[in-house]
């Protein structure tokens, strides 16, 4: 999982998949980043092609903690068709900005 911070944005770039084996890390990194002085938190999924329901839970968690700190959460680069489908089915776009 890569983390990039510049200006007033932070970017989390998970690699390969987000599932029970590493989704806890996503939560931890998110918690650390919202303490920094940033306006945007970007979850960059360009390297991710698989996620499971624990990943959904972590994304929901990120939505909450960013909302509490007035930080904008954006999900970017959803390249995987499978993940696109999952997000669409869950209507995730109604509660977080997703940029395909």
């Amino acid at each position: 999982m890569e983390i990039k911070i510049d200006d007033n944005s932070a970017r989390i770039i998970p690699v390969d998949k987000i599932d029970v084996t590493n989704s806890e890390k996503l939560k931890k990194e998110g918690k650390k980043l919202i303490d920094k002085d940033i306006k945007n938190l970007i979850l960059d999924l360009k390297k991710v092609n698989e996620l499971d329901s624990s990943a959904i839970g972590r994304i929901l968690f990120l939505i909450k903690i960013t909302k509490d700190e007035n930080i904008k959460l954006i999900i970017e680069n959803v390249n995987s068709d499978y993940i696109k489908k999952v997000f669409d089915m869950l209507d995730l776009g109604e509660v977080v900005e997703i940029r395909y």
């Binding site: 939560k27 499971d52 329901s53 624990s54 959904i56 839970g57 972590r58 929901l60 968690f61 939505i63 909450k64 903690i65 489908k85 999952v86 669409d88 089915m89 869950l90 209507d91 995730l92 109604e94 509660v95």
Partner: protein, 405 residues
């Protein structure tokens, strides 16, 4: 519950015990250092240093009454023997014949407070063991006792989870309602951990309410969520019956969602739910979907299979979401409604392919004339063939409702 002893944990901590024995050898410089299992007046050496002595060998069993450790076991505390030849007490002990005349040992207790073994060193010279040497041996004894505690706790936890699994299975409905013109099929199998899926069919006046749920987590949190869900639905049915929109699935979801937010659950908890109502007058189904990635299916007499395209967010603490669609479908004679949780579709085989919706649709299409129970058997046989030896990764749950006439 089984009591834990050193033989139970031997395999798990083999390397750790190797290191302990080696450090004892380096620091004490005694002829032998041993970790022993004690049971029923016998002592078995589980771990030993490399030594030229001919008396002690790993995995050999000794009469407890013939070794110094007997006193350690009986007294249940540290025993130090400086020179066994100087007292009559040790006359009959084999160790003296083999030249081992000094000893320092501690009993090892399991979490239940019983002596299950000893850790000791024995030497060919007279020894007056230093305080630091005694402290070191005491530390190692405590390391091993912590290992016993760890395995004991793990076992207790697994036993608890197993109880939870069985209990969860028991909370599923024993039988489906007896309703004219409708027949049901159900299937539930949890993956190897605490189950998260649930289903129910509830008879109301002129209607049936049915739902299938899949909660987040596969541990105690999922049990809590299932209890919450059941309670929320029961509460809705009891207290909201005056509401003209009583039997609206999207209303029920909103009600559950509000309660969910009020309970202050952690932000990563959520509930996926498909909930629907069937009228027993005209068999019209009204369904809402909160978070299921695989839509309900309908199969018809002709073998056609299609989705009921109804989507929505799972139940989460982000309750700003109120947009649950209601999809309606009139169940025709011989039509079957299928609701499955994602475990069935997302199962992978050894080539990492997913079982997928297509496979399920094909099986249904080819067998839509069978009874719901037989169709379920077919689906799950295909599923087992597909996955081979790969373990089941998520709960399998299916609810089928067929209109007969």
């Amino acid at each position: 519950m089984e009591k834990v002893d050193l033989k139970n944990i031997e395999d798990s901590f083999d390397e750790s015990w190797e290191r302990i024995i080696n450090i004892l050898g380096e620091v004490f410089n005694t002829e032998v250092s041993l970790i022993n299992h004690v049971e029923d007046f016998e002592l078995e050496i589980l771990k030993m240093n490399e030594s030229d002595n001919n008396l002690f060998k790993e995995n050999k069993v000794y009469d407890l009454a013939s070794v110094y450790c007997e006193k350690t076991v009986n007294d249940e505390k540290m025993v130090e023997i400086n020179n066994a030849t100087k007292t009559e007490r040790w006359e009959d002990y084999k160790a003296i014949d083999y030249g081992l005349i000094s000893y320092l040992g501690y009993p090892i207790f399991n979490p239940q407070g019983e002596v299950v073994g000893t850790i000791c060193v024995e030497d060919k010279k007279e020894r007056y063991f230093k305080e630091t040497e005694k402290k070191l041996l005491l530390q190692f004894k405590e390391v091993i006792e912590n290992q016993l505690r760890q395995i004991d706790l793990t076992k207790k936890l697994e036993d608890n989870l197993e109880k939870g699994r069985k209990l969860h299975k028991h909370t599923l409905p024993d039988r489906m309602p007896k309703v004219d013109n409708l027949s049901f099929g159900t299937f539930y199998q949890s993956a190897d951990r605490l189950g998260g899926d649930f289903y129910d069919v509830i008879e109301l006046e002129n209607h049936l309410l049915f739902y299938v749920s899949d909660v987040s987590g596969h541990d105690l949190s999922s049990s809590m969520l299932n209890i919450f869900l059941k309670e929320a639905i029961n509460s809705y049915l009891l207290y909201q019956s005056e509401n003209p929109d009583y039997l609206s699935p999207s209303n029920i979801i909103n009600y559950i969602n509000e309660r969910f937010v009020n309970k202050d659950f952690p932000a990563d908890y959520f509930i996926s739910l498909i909930i629907g109502v069937i009228s027993l007058n005209d068999y019209q189904i009204t369904i809402s979907n909160a978070g299921f990635q695989f839509f309900p299916l309908i199969s018809q007499k002709t073998g056609d299979v299609f989705n009921i395209n109804c989507k929505g967010m799972p139940i989460t603490i982000h309750n700003s979401y109120k947009n649950y669609n209601e999809c309606k479908y009139s169940l025709q004679p011989e039509d079957i409604l299928y609701i499955n949780t994602d475990g069935l579709f997302e199962q992978r085989n050894k080539n990492n392919e997913m079982f997928g919706e297509k496979n399920v649709k094909n099986t249904i299409s080819e067998n839509s004339n069978l009874s719901p129970k037989n169709i379920i058997d077919k689906i799950y046989n295909d599923f087992l063939d597909f996955k081979g030896k790969v373990p089941i990764t998520d709960d399998l749950t299916s609810l089928l409702i067929k209109r007969i006439n």
